[in-house]
Amino acid sequence: MTKSIEQKLFFNHKPEAVWEYLTNAELMAQWLMPNDFQPVLWHDFQFTTKAYPDLDFDGHVYCKVLEIVPYKKLVYSWKSGPGEGRISVDSIVTWTLVEKDNGTELQLVHSGFKEIANLKLYAAMTDGWMKNIQKIAVLLNDATHGAANV
């Protein structure tokens, strides 16, 4: 089972130029989604797009800047859900820029997917039920590792 997404792109531009497209809200909107991003550590922001109810997606991606190293690295949390504060996707997006002789290599890693449905299950359960479900949790555990999270 794949637990993360990795993609790489090369640009014939300096890291500063690529960085602009990752951290300027207006430029980000041109290729990603409308947002209220600010290049400030711990800044909470949202991407806003069309809702897909069948995908448990209310049209908002709830994010927080977790790490920011100008022209080199940007990390933010990436959460979404069906609305009313419920979260069904809890993950981390990491952008890394590496300067090369003739441009910049940009790497995207989308990872740290947490087993939210599982957590919600826990929340929905009574204490007695809790104990029984732990057996299931053991079964699921091998699929939930690898999440370095907030």
Partner: protein
């Protein structure tokens, strides 16, 4: 397709359905055996079982004349679907970024 509108959260929102999952966490059971644990009618129990099946929590297997219910992992874990979704999502976004940046005048000096 009404049953498919039951997602994992809705499926477990009902105490009877949680009770069914609880019973199945110990062993696989026939629908009849499950029904014995409830005051409601067998069709009512069947309906709850259907919802749990659609939401991916259990699978039903016909053995002889009995229908056996077994706990399944899918209802607890549809992460792979999300990962596949985001893989395509980022591919298309990255293409867009590539087009934007490459059309930008004055590349690296």
């Amino acid at each position: 397709m009404a049953p498919q509108t039951f997602d994992a959260f809705q499926a477990i929102s009902d105490p009877s359905r949680r009770q069914i999952l609880k019973l199945l966490s110990k062993e696989r059971l026939t629908i009849n055996a499950l029904a014995e644990n409830f005051d409601m009618s067998r069709p009512a129990v069947s309906k709850h079982i259907k919802i749990l099946e659609y939401a991916g929590f259990i699978s039903i297997e016909d053995i002889g004349r009995e229908r056996y219910c077994t706990l399944k992992q899918d209802g607890f874990n549809n992460l792979q679907e999300w990962i596949d979704f985001f893989d395509g999502f980022w591919k298309s976004k990255m293409n867009k970024l590539e087009m934007l940046l490459n059309s930008k005048s004055g590349g690296k000096k």
